[in-house]
C-alpha cells in the first residue's frame, strides 16, 4: 500500500482485523446452525408454512415445527440484534475516532503538513472505512437473510416486519451502516473529542432508528382485506397487521370500530347484529409482505440522504479549515 492509503490502513488495521475476525466467526456459526436447521426441516418434512393460516400449514406437525422455531429464533434474534446494532457500533468505534482522535491528539497537524492535501487525506481514510462498513454490514445482512429464509414469516417465528429482521437485513441495513459512519465522523470533527463524539453518535443513530421504527408504517398506506357478510375474516398470512379492524356498510364506507358487534351471552349473533347496523362486510388493514421492499428502499433513501448531507457538512468544515 502506498501514500495516504498506507496511513489509513495503518491507522484502521486493528479495527479492520477485529471486524474481519468477528465476521468470519459469525459466518462459521451461522453456516453450522443453518445446516443443523435445514437437516431438521428435511428430516421432519416440515413445509415452509408462511403465516399461521396458509394452505401449506394444514398438514403441519405443529410440535416439530414449534421445536424448529424454538431452536432457531433465539439465536437468529441475537444475530439480528448484532446486525441492527452494527451501524451504531461502526459510528461509535470507527466514525467517531476517524477525525475525532486526530483532532484530539493534534496528529491532524502532522498529517496535513506533509505532502498530501486535506481532501486526499480525508477521502482516503473515509473511503477505506466506508468500504469496510459496507462490506461488513452486507455480510451480516446476508447472513441474517440466509438463516432466516427457510423459517421466514412462519407461525410465531420472526416476521419481515420484526426489528430483528427488518433493521438487520436488506439495503436499509447497509445504508444505515454508512449513515452511522458518516454521523460518527461528523461528530468527531465537530466535537473534536473522541469520547464526546462517541456519546453523540450513539444518541443520534439510535434516535434516528427509533424515529424510523416508530413512523415506519406511515410512509405508505396499508391495504384493506375484506370479507363479505358474516363470512370469516380473510387470512392475514404474512401481512403486518395495523391493528385496524372494522365493518363496511352498504355505501362501502369503512367504520374502524372493531367491537361494533361484540360476541357474548344474550347478545345477537354476528349476522343479526350486522344486519341491524347496516353492515355488509368486514375488513382489516394490513401491510402485505411485499411492502418489505417498498419500506426498505424508502429507509435506504433516508439513510443515504442523511449520510450524503453529513459528508457534505464534513467537506465544507474541512475545506474552510474551521477545525481549530
Amino acid at each position: 500500500m502506498k501514500g495516504a492509503l498506507w496511513l489509513a490502513w495503518r491507522q484502521q488495521r486493528t479495527l479492520i482485523l477485529v471486524g474481519a475476525v468477528v465476521l468470519v466467526a459469525c459466518a462459521a456459526w451461522v453456516a453450522f446452525q443453518r445446516a443443523d436447521m435445514t437437516a431438521f426441516i428435511s428430516d421432519h418434512r416440515i413445509p415452509h408454512c408462511a403465516g399461521w393460516d396458509a394452505d401449506e400449514c394444514s398438514g403441519l406437525d405443529i410440535e416439530q415445527a414449534q421445536r424448529l422455531l424454538d431452536d432457531n429464533v433465539g439465536a437468529l434474534r441475537a444475530l439480528g440484534t448484532l446486525s441492527a446494532a452494527l451501524p451504531v457500533l461502526i459510528g461509535v468505534f470507527w466514525g467517531a475516532p476517524l477525525l475525532g482522535r486526530e483532532l484530539e491528539s493534534g496528529t491532524w497537524k502532522l498529517a496535513l503538513t506533509q505532502g498530501v492535501s486535506i481532501r486526499r487525506w480525508f477521502a482516503t481514510r473515509f473511503t477505506l472505512a466506508a468500504v469496510c462498513a459496507v462490506v461488513g454490514s452486507t455480510v451480516l445482512a446476508a447472513l441474517v437473510a440466509w438463516w432466516w429464509s427457510p423459517i421466514s414469516n412462519m407461525l410465531n417465528g420472526l416476521y419481515w416486519h420484526d426489528g430483528y429482521i427488518f433493521n438487520a437485513t436488506g439495503p436499509a441495513a447497509i445504508a444505515c451502516a454508512l449513515f452511522g459512519l458518516a454521523a460518527g465522523t461528523a461528530a468527531g470533527l465537530l466535537l473534536r473529542r473522541t469520547l464526546a463524539a462517541m456519546g453523540a453518535v450513539l444518541a443520534f443513530v439510535v434516535g434516528v432508528r427509533i424515529l424510523l421504527n416508530t413512523f415506519r408504517s406511515d410512509w405508505i398506506s396499508p391495504i384493506a382485506l375484506t370479507s363479505r357478510g358474516s363470512a370469516p375474516r380473510p387470512y392475514i398470512g404474512t401481512g403486518w397487521s395495523t391493528g385496524e379492524f372494522g365493518f363496511i356498510d352498504a355505501t362501502g364506507h369503512k367504520d374502524a370500530i372493531a367491537d361494533a358487534c361484540p360476541w357474548g351471552p344474550g347478545l345477537p349473533d354476528l349476522k343479526t347484529c350486522m344486519a341491524q347496523k347496516g353492515y355488509v362486510g368486514r375488513y382489516q388493514k394490513v401491510y402485505p409482505s411485499s411492502d418489505f421492499w417498498v419500506l426498505q428502499w424508502i429507509e435506504t433513501a433516508v439513510f443515504l440522504g442523511l449520510a450524503a448531507a453529513l459528508i457534505a457538512l464534513i467537506c465544507v468544515v474541512l475545506r474552510r479549515r474551521a477545525v481549530l
Binding site: 498506507w6 491528539s105 496528529t107 497537524k109 502532522l110 496535513l112 503538513t113 506533509q114 498530501v116 474552510r320
Partner: protein, 307 residues
C-alpha cells in the same frame, strides 16, 4: 535573487484571523527573508501559534493573505516546501519509529530517508521502539527527523524546546542548527526563552496583541537602539535627560533613583551620550526584545526596520 518574492520565504499582507473569542492576529504585514533564522517572539496569546497555523494552511486567514515562497500555504507547492513542528509535537503513539519514518516517506514526494534515519540513530533510538514509549526529548528528535526528511525550504518551529530539560534543549538546538546551516533552510522559531534566541537568530518578528510590533535584522535592530542607564533627572517627568529629541523612548524603567531606558535612535547620535552621568550602550537582542515586550501597547512605537 533580486526578485523580492524569491528572496522572501514568508510574506503576510494585511493578515488577520478572528476566532469566536476575538482577533488573534490583525493587520499583520511582514516579509521574512529566505535563508535566515527568524525569532518569532511575543507574550502568550500574541498570535504566534495562529501565525504558524496560517503559514501551514492548517487555518485560513479571515482577512489578508500569507504566502510561502510566493505560494498559498494550502497549495501542494507550498506544502512540499514547508515543515512544521507544532507546539505539542504530535506523533502517532502506536506507530513504531520505523513506521513514523515510513509515514513521512509515504506522504511526501521528495523524502530524504537517509537524513531522517541519521537523525534518529544519532539519538540512539531504536527503529522498532513504539513512539508512545519514548521520552519528550526523543519525541522531539523524531519530529525533527520527520521535518528534515521532508527536505523543507522553510522550517517552522513552534516552541520546540518547551518541556525539554536543559541538556536536551542544547542537543535539540544543536541538531536544528547543524542541519539548517548545511542546507540554507529558512527557519522561523518561536520561543519564550529569549536568551536562547540570541545566539541562533539573525532576524526578528515580534508580535504583541495580535499585531507586529517589531521586525527586522537582529543586528541592525540592536544597532538602531540604545540602552541608556543613569540617575533619574528629578527635573523631568520621565527622569530622562534632555536632548533625546532625535530618538523614541521605547520603554523606560525607574528602579529607585536609577533609570534604564531603551531608545530607538535609528543610528542618529543622541545628545545625552556625551553626558558622562549617563551610560549608553548597544542593547543585547534579549534587552531589546524584553523592552518591546514590556512596553505599552500604544501604536506609536510600532516600527518598521529597513530590511
Amino acid at each position: 535573487m533580486t526578485d523580492p518574492i524569491a528572496s522572501t520565504a514568508l510574506r503576510a499582507t494585511r493578515l488577520g484571523r478572528r476566532f469566536r473569542s476575538g482577533w488573534a492576529l490583525r493587520d499583520c504585514d511582514f516579509d521574512l527573508p529566505a535563508g535566515r533564522i527568524t525569532a518569532l517572539v511575543g507574550p502568550n496569546g500574541a498570535g504566534k501559534s495562529t501565525l504558524f497555523h496560517l503559514a501551514t494552511g492548517l487555518l485560513r486567514p479571515t482577512t489578508g493573505e500569507i504566502s510561502v515562497f510566493g505560494a498559498d500555504p494550502v497549495t501542494a507547492e507550498a506544502r512540499d516546501r514547508t515543515a512544521f513542528l507544532a507546539q505539542d509535537k504530535p506523533l502517532y503513539p502506536r506507530f513504531t519509529v520505523d513506521e513514523t519514518l515510513r509515514f513521512g516517506r509515504e506522504l511526501n514526494r521528495d523524502w530524504d530517508q537517509a537524513t531522517a534515519e541519521r537523525i534518529v540513530r544519532a539519538g540512539n533510538i531504536s527503529l522498532d521502539a513504539r513512539v508512545g514509549t519514548l521520552s519528550p526529548g526523543q519525541c522531539t528528535r523524531i519530529s525533527l527527523a520527520l521535518a528534515f526528511g521532508k527536505r523543507p525550504g522553510l522550517l517552522l518551529l513552534d516552541e520546540p524546546l518547551a518541556d525539554l530539560d536543559p541538556l536536551v534543549r542544547i542537543e535539540a538546538m544543536g541538531l536544528v542548527m547543524a542541519e539548517v546551516a548545511e542546507r540554507g533552510i529558512t527557519v522561523v522559531l518561536s520561543s519564550h526563552v529569549l536568551s536562547e534566541l540570541e545566539n541562533v537568530c539573525d532576524h526578528v518578528l515580534l508580535l504583541k496583541h495580535g499585531g507586529v510590533r517589531l521586525q527586522g535584522d537582529a543586528q541592525q535592530l540592536c544597532d538602531d537602539h540604545l540602552l541608556l542607564t543613569g540617575r533619574a533627572d528629578g527635573s523631568r517627568e520621565n527622569g530622562l535627560p534632555p536632548g533625546l529629541d532625535g530618538a523614541t523612548v521605547v520603554e523606560s524603567t525607574v528602579t529607585g533613583r536609577q533609570v534604564t531606558a531603551l531608545l530607538r535612535t535609528d543610528g542618529h547620535p543622541v545628545g545625552a551620550s556625551a553626558d558622562d552621568r549617563w551610560v549608553t550602550e548597544i542593547p543585547s537582542l534579549e534587552d531589546l526584545l524584553l523592552a518591546y515586550l514590556r512596553s505599552a501597547p500604544a501604536g506609536t512605537a510600532t516600527t518598521e526596520a529597513a530590511a
